[in-house]
């Protein structure tokens, strides 16, 4: 469980199958795929037959193809970028009817992008079922220059846009699908706190 003092830090309650859904759109990476397989096993073959999985292949174990095999009878589409999953998801939701349920499992940036895409197509974020698995890496927005920094595993992190050294806060924006980064040494730029690897 991802815990923080900060109440704006998102919690991901876990994948629960919606047995009433007429179709299920499931977004996951290779770590999240385990949660998806567990959900499908719990829900049964009927549920899996109504499901399409969008699997992000980040070239790690277990191989995407073997995961896709284990998801059957659900169809799996393999992608190599979060952005292309979000685009395909948005495309499918556009013009869809009520009765579609969206699920997302894996890293926070992946979940965040899936929720963002769902929200943009008229789905309430509370309706998306989510589960965090695997990497703690974060997407961070630099509050100063608004640059998005992907795959952040350290704190503080240097902004590639403006060069400021940012503390990565637990304060999260669902709209931006990112955590907030604020200059850590604005008061005394000579202070350069050591970088810690925190979000592997």
């Amino acid at each position: 469980m991802l815990v923080s003092e900060i109440k704006s830090r998102p919690q991901y309650p876990g994948l629960e199958p919606d047995l009433n859904a007429r179709s299920n759109l499931v977004v996951c990476d290779q770590a999240g795929a385990e949660a998806v397989i567990e959900m499908m096993e719990k829900a049964g073959a009927d549920f899996a037959r109504k499901s399409t999985v969008f699997l992000l292949d980040e070239n790690r174990a277990p191989p995407a193809t073997s995961l896709a095999e284990r998801m059957k009878p659900a169809d799996t589409v393999i992608h190599y970028q979060i952005a292309s999953i979000a685009t395909q998801l948005a495309g499918l939701l556009q013009g869809a009817k009520m009765g579609v349920r969206v699920y997302a499992a894996g890293s926070e940036p992946l979940i965040g992008s899936a929720v963002q895409a769902a929200m943009q197509q008229g789905i309430d974020h509370m309706s998306v079922r989510t589960e965090h698995r695997g990497s703690l890496k974060r997407r961070v927005q630099c509050v100063h220059c608004k640059t998005m920094i992907e795959n952040v595993t350290v704190n503080p992190v240097e902004c590639p846009g403006c060069g400021l050294l940012l503390t990565v806060r637990d304060h999260y924006s669902r709209r931006l699908a990112a955590f907030q980064g604020v200059c850590i040494n604005a008061e005394d730029p000579s202070e350069v706190p050591a970088q810690e690897v925190m979000y592997l």
Binding site: S8, H144, S173, R175, A186
Partner: protein
């Protein structure tokens, strides 16, 4: 009140309070220590001349504050955002502010309405506008931005849905260190996320419950406070790397001039057509040398600052200059008892 200051809230910082402004300052401490509470009360008309007399308060800093707002928005348009579904709430806000200003300050503002044909005059800012209420095409800006550029204080509009309040619009240029661009779209609990200690005290849970039951015609208010070095209105996180260093420039000699108590008078109104909640954050600043001209406030603020829990001091950004300021204020605290209540006497 017809004379407005010409002053700046950046660069040369010529901001200063007249003696009248000092007397009416909304000093927020009713006792000699501070802790969070759900300190919400009905926003009823207060004593004449006080900041509570009118629903929306205009003071000697009006013209200069609006100039500073315009500069902030020119530099960073993302300080004013409105999600599309909030347009009805924007019109509600425009109506509330225009009618309030025109009623409270008839010598400064005039509003004539002929059905939905409105005629607005703002004398201090030299604005005259004829527009159609409900038709955004007849105003030079969206309704919230239009009236927000003519009203002191930040404003946010909260959509009431799913048993929560969602900050889906705002014009925020005088904030104490939070980002509208980041927070827009968050709910009440989320945007208060970073505030320490208060969550444990269930302060926000109770505040939210109160606000969800806020009624038409029964606005509420509360005070919040922090401190700022130099009378800078735009202490946004966006510009933190520009103003943060000010916190290291406080010396025992310049406390009186540089260190400011910054109080937010927050107003909360239920809006009629949209059922949204309007949240105003009206900022008042006073430097220490002005504050201590009121002996009770000098003693009390010394004691409040001295006993403030470290997490709160940290969160409010006071840590670097707190001790220096406490030391400076101690000269004005003879240990005598202070009267209850926030007033100057």
């Amino acid at each position: 009140m017809n004379v407005f200051n010409h002053e700046s809230f950046r660069d040369d910082f010529t901001f200063r309070n007249s003696p009248a402004a000092i007397r009416r300052f909304p000093f927020p401490f009713h006792e000699d220590k501070y802790m969070y509470s759900v300190n919400i009360e009905p926003h009823l008309p207060g004593p004449k001349g006080s900041v509570y007399e009118h629903p929306i308060d205009i003071d000697e800093h009006y013209v200069s504050e609006m100039k500073d707002r315009a500069m902030v928005l020119a530099e960073d348009p993302k300080r004013c955002q409105s999600l599309p579904h909030m347009i009805t709430a924007e019109w509600d806000m425009l109506e509330l502010l225009m009618t309030s200003l025109a009623e409270s300050y008839p010598e400064l503002f005039t509003l004539n309405r002929d059905g939905d044909k409105w005629h607005w005059i703002n004398r201090p800012l030299n604005i005259e506008e004829r527009f159609v209420f409900g038709d955004a095409g007849t105003l030079p800006y969206g309704p919230m931005e239009y009236i927000g550029r003519q009203c002191q204080g930040d404003f946010s509009l909260q959509d009431h849905r799913d048993n929560n309040l969602w900050m889906d619009a705002g014009i925020i240029t005088t904030q104490a260190d939070w980002s509208l661009d980041f927070d827009v779209g968050m709910n009440f609990t989320e945007w208060h996320g970073p505030v320490p200690l208060a969550h444990q005290a269930r302060v926000f849970e109770r505040a939210l419950k109160f606000l969800l039951n806020l009624q038409l015609g029964q606005p509420a208010r509360r005070l919040n406070w922090t401190m700022t070095i130099n009378p800078r209105l735009d202490t946004s996180p966006e510009n933190y790397h520009k103003w943060g260093v000010d916190r290291t420039t406080v010396t025992p000699e310049n406390v009186g001039d540089k260190v400011h108590l910054r109080v937010e008078l927050q107003g909360l109104w239920r809006l009629p057509r949209s059922n949204a909640v309007l949240f105003s954050i009206r900022c008042y600043m006073i430097k220490m040398s002005e504050l201590v001209t009121v002996p009770k406030w000098a003693r009390r603020f010394h004691r409040v600052l001295k006993t403030l829990p470290p997490e709160l001091a940290d969160y409010k950004g006071l840590t670097r200059y707190r001790d220096t300021t406490v030391e400076w204020l101690s000269k004005y605290d003879d240990g005598a008892p202070t009267s209850p209540g926030c007033g100057p006497e």
